[in-house]
């Protein structure tokens, strides 16, 4: 008898699965030509709205690139607080659900959702080609009117100027949440012991400092080539200081084989002899750990590393200094997390209300005092609570004549950015400079300039 019941159960399960299976296939033969995800966007957001409306709560989704529960990143933890504050304050009216991935999978997953017509109502994005991807086909909504409607825009430091990387044809498509600047962090004790009294301001000064540190028995620089973008950040600084014009390269008016690129890459090779021995295999975290464990004197990183450094070794905060990468003529690499809204969202008001929570005083104060990033609004924060290094970073940022984005996030496509990173790593690992740049040039010939 028992067996009979089981077999009945099984066959029902089977029939159910068959129905699904058949449903899956019934329109399959007509597939190839009909694959056009766009038309389903409205339908799907409509579906999502239906259950929410019946309860009277407007549900929105936010997609983010770090797990809010598992993270140790202070900025991500701050975002988690923001989400909780929003859900509590708007209880019964709005509710945000968070979809998270890790950074590596973030854009693939987001693109998959967009392609499936399930664009999240709100999503985080880096300005540059990553944002282009969503602005060009109209996936991201124009936020200008919302920003101008009630003085929201005026709370930002620099007004519309704060949105230069998010503006396309005079329309703003994303809201920056914080700014991080890439600087050189250094160990003040080691610098003192090596007899370096003034911070290097040009390339020769940088090399001299490295020499002195090495002579004093220290590893001058720690960097990660295992995590390609770390090395590529240094390469970006070197290219920029040689006057490489990415826009000109993208449009085909300049080449990767030009003298200034070659000279920048040679500088990369030149300084690489000061790296820690395991740089090629060390990941981002290991390279940073080398610095706060006082195994190396300098670290070239974004200011997001402050939280990690102070968190792992609190005693180190007082020994850690910051200076701007030398020889760049006052230009600084800056990166901002930005939020974009789906153009097809059924709840724009809820999304805007949600975004405002990220730029309100509580969140921005947290950004500076705990997160160690530069706030985007004109919020007053308690400098004594903020990590000591933030002040130095603010100085670097304040003295900067202009800023530019991460190199790999400023190129024609994300693949081009990844190719640049990989090329720089392979040159560091021993590929001759000319060969490496020639492969980059080839990639642009075949994938960028012919489009």
């Amino acid at each position: 008898m028992k067996k009979k019941v089981l077999s009945v159960l099984l066959s029902t399960a089977m029939v159910a699965s068959m129905l699904v299976g058949c449903g899956g296939g019934s329109d399959a033969p007509a597939a190839p030509a009909a694959d056009n995800g766009g038309s389903q966007d409205t339908a799907s957001s409509g579906d999502a709205a239906a259950p929410a409306a019946s309860e009277g709560v407007e549900e929105i989704t936010w997609m983010f690139w770090d797990d809010l529960n598992a993270t140790e990143d202070l900025i991500s933890i701050g975002y988690k607080d923001t989400v909780e504050r929003f859900n509590k304050d708007y209880e019964g009216k709005y509710h945000v659900n968070v979809v998270t991935t890790n950074l590596e999978e973030y854009y693939p997953k987001l693109n998959a959702l967009v392609a499936a017509g399930e664009t999240p109502d709100c999503f985080i994005v880096s300005p540059g080609p990553n944002l282009d991807v969503y602005v060009d086909p109209g996936v991201a909504a124009d936020l200008t009117d919302y920003l101008k409607a009630d003085g929201w825009l005026d709370t930002f430091n620099g007004g519309e100027g704060a949105f230069s990387q998010q503006t396309y044809d005079g329309k703003i498509y994303a809201v920056p949440l914080n700014i991080a600047a890439a600087c050189v962090f250094y160990n003040t004790e080691m610098f003192e012991a090596a007899g370096i009294t003034t911070m290097p301001t040009d390339w020769q000064g940088m090399l001299d400092a490295c020499d002195k540190l090495q002579a004093a028995g220290y590893t001058p620089l720690t960097i990660s080539a295992g995590t390609a973008w770390c090395l590529s950040m240094l390469a970006g600084y070197l290219c920029d200081s040689e006057g490489v014009d990415l826009a000109a390269i993208d449009s085909g008016n300049a080449s990767w084989l030009d003298a200034n690129v070659v000279s920048a890459t040679n500088k990369l090779v030149e300084i690489s002899k000061y790296f820690q021995q395991t740089a090629a295999g060390d990941t981002n975290d290991v390279a940073t750990a080398n610095f706060y464990n006082e195994e190396a004197a300098m670290l070239i990183q974004g200011s997001w590393a402050i939280a990690q450094i102070n968190g792992a070794n609190p005693d180190f905060e007082s020994k850690c200094g910051v200076f701007a990468f030398p020889g760049t003529d006052g230009r600084v690499i800056a990166k901002s997390d930005s939020l974009a809204m789906s153009a097809k969202t059924a709840h724009p008001d809820a999304v805007i209300a949600f975004m405002k929570y990220f730029t309100d005083d509580t969140a921005q104060k947290y950004t500076a005092e705990v997160g160690g990033k530069i706030p985007v609004t004109t919020v007053e924060y308690d400098a004594s609570k903020a990590p000591a290094q933030l002040e130095y970073v603010m100085d670097v940022f304040g003295n900067a004549k202009s800023t530019f984005g991460f190199y790999n996030e400023s190129m024609a496509t994300t693949e081009a950015g990844a190719f640049f990173d990989d090329t720089m790593v392979s040159i560091y690992l021993g590929t001759p400079v000319e060969d490496g740049l020639a492969s980059l040039e080839d990639f642009y010939k075949n994938n960028v300039w012919n489009k």
Binding site: K3, S7, L10, S11, A13, M14, S17, V20, G21, G23, G24, A28, A31, D35, G37, Q40, S44, W65, D66, D67, N69, A70, T71, E72, D73, S76, V99, T100, T101, N102, L103, E104, E105, K109, A112, L113, A115, A116, G117, E118, T283, N284, D285, V286, T288, A289, N290, N293, G302, W304, A305, Q308, A312, N313
Partner: protein
């Protein structure tokens, strides 16, 4: 004769030393990962081989709850369990028709199913993904079960057909005389007599799907629905990674399999080998 015996004694010793060293190569990494998972992030890079000052069991709690390894284990069990049951049922039904019943196309049908064994999953990834996205089946467990089930079918059908063919004809004849229907002879004669076959194929299906990474990674984006192999990579944050918790996660991911393996190792090893031999 005596020298020969001595010689063989020495050679046996050498064989044992060699085998033991090899066993160390197999077990040491597994022990090392457990050991590191009990350290904390801060001392990890300073002294990776030093003993932990204090055993950090919270790495496990953290990986299990905040890292959602618990949910992932449940998801894996759910997806693999349902796939297993459906696969055994659907697979042995087809195998019964092919192996025992008489129809012209049975040979052709078998060949059709067998070609599936040569096809790498990568080839169907994109079409299945685009199709399922449109049907809103990606990011759902059903969307994962369907391809798992389909990819497990060829081997199931192949092995079960062999089993059904080896059953003696008389059994079915006498059942037929007793007025037993074809469905009943399938559920009451063929299936119970092929328990070994069901065990072997079930084991192969379950192990393969439990460890599957690619499909799960592409199809599932929602944390609450991720399976074990995919969840492992979530400790890599945007700017830093929780190393010791990642080690704890690796341990959590492999421990259930190791426990089950230790309990039934002989049956599992022999079952899987029998399956591979047939395949």
């Amino acid at each position: 004769m005596n020298t020969r015996k001595k010689k063989s004694k020495i050679s046996t010793k050498i064989i044992y030393i060699f085998l033991s060293l090899l066993a160390v190569v197999y077990l040491l990494p597994l022990l090392w990962v457990i050991y590191v998972s009990l350290k904390d992030d801060k001392t990890l890079f300073v002294s990776p081989w030093a003993l932990p000052e204090r055993l950090m069991f919270e790495n496990y709690t953290f990986a299990w709850t905040a890292g959602r390894l618990g949910v992932a284990t449940l998801n894996s069990a759910l997806v693999c369990g349902i796939t297993l049951i459906l696969c055994l049922l659907i697979g042995s039904m087809a195998a019964f028709a092919i192996g025992r019943m008489r129809w012209k196309l049975s040979g052709a049908m078998m060949t059709y199913f067998l070609t599936g064994m040569m096809i790498p999953v990568h080839c169907i990834l994109i079409p299945v993904f685009t199709r399922f996205s449109k049907m809103h089946l990606t990011n759902s467990q059903v969307g994962l079960i369907l391809p798992y089930l389909t990819l497990s079918l060829p081997i199931t059908i192949f092995i079960m057909t062999g089993f059904f063919q080896s059953l003696p004809n008389e059994l079915f004849e006498s059942a037929c005389i007793d007025g037993c229907s074809i469905y009943r002879s399938f559920t009451h004669i063929a299936l119970p007599l092929s328990k070994t076959g069901l065990f072997v194929t079930g084991l192969m299906t379950f192990v393969a799907n439990w460890n599957e990474l690619l499909l799960a990674m592409v199809f599932i984006s929602d944390d609450a629905k991720k399976t074990l192999p995919v969840s492992l990579s979530k400790f890599v944050g945007p700017y830093n990674t929780n190393y010791s918790q990642m080690f704890a996660a690796i341990v959590i991911a492999i421990i259930p399999t190791i426990i089950v393996y230790c309990m039934f190792s002989n049956q599992i090893v022999e079952g899987l080998t029998a399956g591979a031999v047939k395949g």
